[in-house]
C-alpha cells in the first residue's frame, strides 16, 4: 500500500530528481519495483526500510551506477539516459557506506574528482574543503592512517570537491562507532544546509531519518509503501 501526502504533489518542472516506475531486476529478483517519487530542490528525502528492502539499490539507480530494468530518472526534467554518465555523476554526487578512499594522501583523494574534468584545485580550495569537514591540516596525511570517522569525512570532502548539486548518502554513518556517527551526522546536516544541497539519504535508523529530513519514503521488498512528512510516516508505522 502506498500512502502519498499532499506534499508529494510537486510539479515535475521543479523537481530536482523524479523517478518514474523505476525498476531493477537481477536474477529474477525485483530489487526495486516500480518506484515513482519526486525530490524538490533543496529538499532532503530519507529512504528507510528493513534490510533487503531495496534502499541502496534504489539509491544506486539515481546516479546510474546500476542500470534500471525499466523506468527512468529525470534530472531537472531531463531523462538521465540523455546525459553523459560522467556529467550526471558530477552533478549527482554520492557518499557510500564505506569511504573507499584511494591509496595515497588526502590531497590526492580530494583532487581526484575535479581532475577527471581537467580541473586542478588550488591548495586554498583543498584546505577550505577540509575546514568544512573539520579536518584542517590533513592534506598530506596518508589515508591508511585515518580513523573510520576521519576517512568518512574525507570521502564527503572528496565528493564535495566536485561541487555536486544533489547528494546521495548511502548509510553514511552506519559503519562508524557511536561517537563518530554523531559527529559525521551533524557535519553532513551542516553541509547540506550551508551548501543548500538536495539530498537523498538511505538509513535504517528511523531516528536519524527524523533528525536529518522532513520527508521520508519507506521501502519494503523493493516497493515504495509509504511517503510523506517524517512525523506522519513515523506515527503511521507505529500504529
Amino acid at each position: 500500500m502506498s500512502m502519498d501526502t499532499g506534499l508529494d504533489q510537486q510539479t515535475s518542472s521543479t523537481a530536482a530528481l523524479r523517478t518514474e516506475n523505476l525498476t531493477r531486476i537481477v536474477d529474477d529478483k525485483r530489487l526495486v519495483d516500480g518506484v515513482s517519487v519526486e525530490i524538490g530542490w533543496g529538499e532532503t528525502l530519507a529512504v528507510v526500510g528493513p534490510s533487503g528492502a531495496g534502499k541502496s539499490s534504489f539509491l544506486r539507480l539515481l546516479n546510474r551506477l546500476d542500470e534500471p530494468s525499466s523506468g527512468t530518472v529525470y534530472l531537472e526534467g531531463r531523462d538521465y539516459r540523455d546525459i553523459p554518465p560522467r556529467e550526471l555523476r558530477r552533478i549527482v554526487g554520492m557518499v557510500m557506506q564505506q569511504p573507499f578512499l584511494f591509496p595515497g594522501t588526502v590531497e590526492e583523494n580530494l583532487r581526484f574528482g575535479p581532475r577527471q574534468r581537467g580541473e586542478d584545485l588550488e591548495r586554498e580550495q583543498l584546505e577550505a574543503l577540509l575546514e568544512k569537514v573539520n579536518l584542517p591540516g590533513y592534506l598530506e596525511r596518508d589515508v591508511s592512517r585515518l580513523s573510520g570517522g576521519e576517512a568518512q569525512r574525507v570521502s564527503l570532502a572528496r565528493t564535495l570537491a566536485n561541487r555536486p548539486r544533489i547528494l546521495l548518502l548511502d548509510e553514511p554513518t552506519s559503519a562508524l562507532d557511536e561517537e563518530s556517527r554523531r559527529d559525521v551526522e551533524e557535519l553532513i546536516a551542516q553541509i547540506i544546509d550551508l551548501e543548500k544541497l538536495t539530498c537523498v539519504i538511505v538509513t535504517h535508523d528511523m531516528k536519524q531519518a527524523e533528525r536529518m529530513s522532513k520527508r521520508v519514503m519507506v521501502m519494503e521488498k523493493g516497493k515504495k509503501v509509504r511517503i510523506g512528512p517524517v512525523e506522519e510516516v513515523l506515527a503511521s508505522s507505529q500504529r
Binding site: 560522467r86 573507499f100 577527471q116
Partner: protein, 267 residues
Amino acid sequence: MLEGLFDNQIMLGAAQAGVAVLLALAVMLLARWQEIHLERETVIALVRGLIQIIAVGSILVLLFGGPGWTGLAILTGMVAAAGAIAARRARGIPGAFRISLTGIAVGAGAVIALMTWAGVIDEDLTSLIPVGSMLVANSMNTCALALDRFRGDVEAHTGQIEAALALGAAPNRSVQRFVRSAVQASMIPRIDTLRSLGIVWIPGLMAGMVLAGADPVYAAIYQFVVIAMIYAAAGITALVSVILIRSQAFSPAEQLTLRAGKPQTSS
C-alpha cells in the same frame, strides 16, 4: 657407453630411455622400502609420458616432411588451443575466448612473423614450429596470469572502482592501477627468466643445440634470442589482453559489470 653398442639412433634412444626408466623404478622401490607407495602412479606416468612424447615426435616427423603452409596451419591451431586454455581464467566474462585468442595471436603472431621475416627464426618447419610453439605457450601463460590478476583485483576493489565512477571518472581511469599491476605481475616470470639465464638454469633449447653438435657460444646466443622473443611476445599479449578485458568490464553506460560471482546485468 651406450653409444658404442647401437648404430641406429632410435635404438640408442630406446636404450637410453630404458636406463632412465630403471632409475625411476629404483626410486619407486626406495620409496616402497620406506612404505611410501608410488608404484601405480609411477608406472602409469612413465608409460603415458613415453607414449605421448613418442607420439609427438612421430607426428613431428610427418609434419616436418610436409609443405611450408603446414607450419602456418599448425601454429594457428596452437594459438587457438592456447586461447581456449587461457580463457578459462576469464570464465564468465563475455568474450573471454575472443580476448585471450586475440592477445595471444597478436603477441606471438606478430613476433613470429617479424622474426621470420628478419631471418631470426628459420622458415624451415624444423625451426619454425618448435620456436613458434615456445612463443605461443609463453604468451598463453602470460595471458592467463594477466587475466586472472586483473579479474581478481577488480573483484576485490569493486568499492574503490565505483567510488571513482561516482566521482565522474572514465572507466579506464577507474581501473588504471589494476591494468598496470596485471601487466606487471604477468611479466614477472619472463623478466626473471631473462635475469636468471645461464646462472640459475641452462635452457633446454641451448642444451639440445649443444647435444646436436652446435657451437656452444652460438647455442647460448640463440637461446638468449629466443628468451628475448618470448619476452616481447608475452609483453604484447599482456597489454592486448588486459586492454580488451578492461573494455568488457563496463557497460555502455559506464557501470562496472565485472563482479565476484558473475557479470552483473539487469533484466
